[in-house]
Symmetry: C2
Subunit: 475 residues, 2 copies
């Protein structure tokens, strides 16, 4: 599988083409220090076999911001080192630290803007990034990722809505100036050989925001400056965020927030055109900089998009949260056992409320995903006959099944075949019924369901049911 | 030029690859009849040499809706015929009529939704489309375009937010059912040979809306049903529209509205990834259905995107409003004389307020763009020396020039060269100063400016000025 071909990023080799993109855990205290829960979280990604692990956004400055890691002074190095060490001790995963600068927000809804910064304050930012990057290197990380995406400072400079009147705003070159200075300062601090990756928005998804024409220019500039990869996100901006009175503005509440962390309502692979566009611009200009694509990529699509060269590395956050053993299960031929993200965004909601980020699919009360085999599955069995029923209701295929005995079942995988032989999983759900929303008429469809427990162990399949959607003009 | 290679759409040959996409004129009365002003408007597009002219959205049902054409009963055929006739009499342009169904809106902000329609009401829609299409054919149009984009009925069925509980909603097949039935009914009414085109959103640009994964499926279905082209738009939805108290909801006021009619703040070619994605899906499935791309495409980009096969036909609305002679001027080697749309969206604002749609670049009070030579240019001359000045201000190239004598100048074209020889127009503006926002450091830049009057006639160029943007790390 393409997914498990090693890939070179700068001086490093990743053992495979999966990446855990940075996601906050809210596991640290307000003090910003690493604790055992955080170490355990990342160690599980390493044990699970991720090619690249990008550790959550770590602040390069002091100041309160809810529970968030910090790399703003030397006292944090030892703790950070324990994350890198723990990962390195158990796998070949490469571990980067994402470093971030953000501006102030208040519960009143007020937020500091980049136009509030003096030129001198802006000019201090590259050194702050450089210092944090140097600490990252000292802590033993394999590389550093500069956070230039979403609602945060660097992204606001890149934004087409950057209205600064000095040499840091108002034109493409000026918008790229600070990010370019930051990359160069980081490079000077960590040396030529140390890998520096960038995560940025390939599209802002807000009014008067930028899309591919501008973001291709960013990617070319970053490649020129020698970044080891570009990792692409979208949206996640303050400009269209919905303010809940009494809460600080959360940049994942508007349309752009949905584009950043698409929920159940969105199509799989929604944002992949961005990776595709950036990658083709880089290649057309002779850069082989690897491109990390992301946004609702289930396992089958992951292999496909790599094979189609739409991106070079598949980035995922929520699917790794649901099941850190995503890569190793596939590699061991046990793709069936993956606990699949349902994109319910309970994790996002926890983040929004400064609570410890957990997955709805974990066992109740668990702080981490259970390891494979950690909780031997009680044998779940289908006791009703037939356990699975299909009916055509108002032009849609409706499936219903009964919960198995011997559970509790955490969730269900639903499989479909259009030829009666080759079944593909098309849905992960926690319910016992669904409508196959993507079924198209003209083929005989077959379905079965498997239940899984919190450890990812599967029941036997249910009975197979068949259904045929009437032609659109006959239904 | 690729732009002027004829292209086959179904049984027709377009003389070139430009299309006037449908735009309301607000020139008809509330009665929905064609009048001379409307005929003149479309005749100018024909005289200007458009390959395809799609006449504005024409209602298939009765009912008030502000000034809008109608094809809802036979009494409208004669008037509609006069548009087709007038165009055919003066050029090889092919003329389609766009037909539309929309739901009710009220000044209170209330709007009828597709879930308010009974199944029986939905089932009546295909016949209404078919009747209007039959009238279109009888009126002598070369084809009919079915409006399935933006905030209107058919688009709401295609929408991922279609929550109907019957066989017309809730799944991909059900969402496509009514549009498929409409196409088939239209086909039955007009015969196999009559060209039927579709305009639809390739991306909804709203929360929980669809993007390419779904819209590729739509395109494949429409191609299967034999449409002669797919014309792609984006957004323009009610769901994120901003309600002005006392006015009916206007679906081009939110982010999705901006994506539909991007203003000055957006990049050129912003939406082309959609045409590219749909086209590659069609080709991969063996369909050669032509794809019309649109969204801020200036002349240089038009030729480029055709050459790169990102779309097959370049669709434009506002640029044709600004200058109906866009194609013929290029074909005659007078691309310099195009009056270029500045995307100021004054036209959109007029539409929003149910006023006659005009272009800000036309002579004051004019109802139409002046024809070339219609108003012989007073000789505009640059009387200050130097007329054009460049300076580097805070990392940006700032250009200033004086208005020429002998005007009035309607606007200015600003040209740039990165090698001192090959100049490209990069901006059309009505101001006498600009910042070159897309300039990137590391090249010596040269600029000149030409003024133009309302007839598109150009002054001589100003003096050439040079500027060099300091490197990003030296500015």
């Amino acid at each position: 599988m393409k997914l498990f071909e090693p890939i070179q990023i700068s001086t490093l080799t990743l053992p495979n083409r999966t990446a855990v993109t940075a996601m906050v855990t809210r596991l640290s205290g307000e003090d910003g220090f690493v604790n055992q829960a955080i170490i355990d979280r990342y160690e599980s990604f390493a044990r699970g076999g991720a090619g690249l692990i990008v550790v959550e956004a770590t602040s390069i400055h002091g100041g309160k911001s809810g529970p968030l890691l910090r790399a703003s002074s030397d006292e944090f190095v030892l703790g950070l080192a324990s994350i890198a060490d723990a990962c390195h001790a158990v796998s070949e995963s490469r571990v980067f630290l994402q470093i971030i600068h953000f501006l102030k927000i208040a519960r009143s809804g007020w937020r500091q803007k980049i136009t509030d910064l003096s030129t001198e304050e802006v000019e201090r930012l590259p050194a702050m990034f450089a210092d944090a990057a140097a600490r990252t290197k000292r802590a033993g990380f394999d590389g550093v990722e500069l956070h230039m995406a979403h609602a945060y400072t660097m992204s606001s400079f890149l934004s087409r809505r950057n209205r600064r009147q000095d040499r840091f705003g108002g034109s493409l070159e000026n918008r790229m100036r600070l990010p370019s200075m930051v990359i160069q300062a980081v490079r000077d601090a960590v040396g030529e050989a140390y890998p520096v990756g960038i995560r940025f928005d390939a599209e802002e998804c807000i009014k008067n925001g930028y899309s591919l024409p501008d973001s291709k220019q960013f990617a070319l500039r970053f490649a020129e400056l020698g970044v080891c990869y570009v990792s692409l996100s979208a949206g996640g901006k303050f400009e269209d965020a919905i303010h809940k009175p009494g809460d600080p503005l959360y940049p994942y509440t508007g349309y752009s927030g949905d584009r950043c962390m698409p929920g159940t309502g969105y199509e799989n692979g929604f944002n992949l055109y961005l990776a595709e566009g950036i990658r083709s611009a880089l290649r057309a200009h002779g850069f082989d900089t690897p491109v990390i694509g992301s946004g609702k990529i289930p396992p089958e699509l992951a292999e496909q998009v790599l094979a189609e060269e739409r991106c070079d590395i598949v980035g995922m956050a929520r699917p790794f949260l649901a099941d850190p053993w995503w890569p190793s299960r596939i590699q061991q031929g046990k793709a069936d056992e993956i606990v699949r993200c349902t994109y319910c965004n309970v994790c996002k909601n926890l983040d929004e409320n400064f609570k410890k980020v957990a997955c709805y699919l974990w066992p109740k009360g668990a702080e981490h995903a259970p390891a494979p085999g950690e909780r031997p599955a009680p044998a779940m069995t289908w006791t009703t006959d037939p356990a699975l029923r299909a009916e055509i209701v108002r032009g849609r295929v409706r499936l219903r099944w009964d919960a198995p005995a011997g559970g509790p079942a955490t969730g269900y995988d639903v499989f479909r075949s259009t030829n009666g032989m080759d079944f593909e999983r098309f849905l992960a759900t926690v319910r016992t019924h669904t409508v196959d929303k993507m079924a198209v008429s003209g083929r005989r469809l077959s379905y079965y369901v498997q239940a899984y427990d919190a450890g990812g162990q599967r029941s036997l399949p249910t009975n197979i049911v068949e259904a045929e959607l009437p032609a659109w003009n006959a239904g």
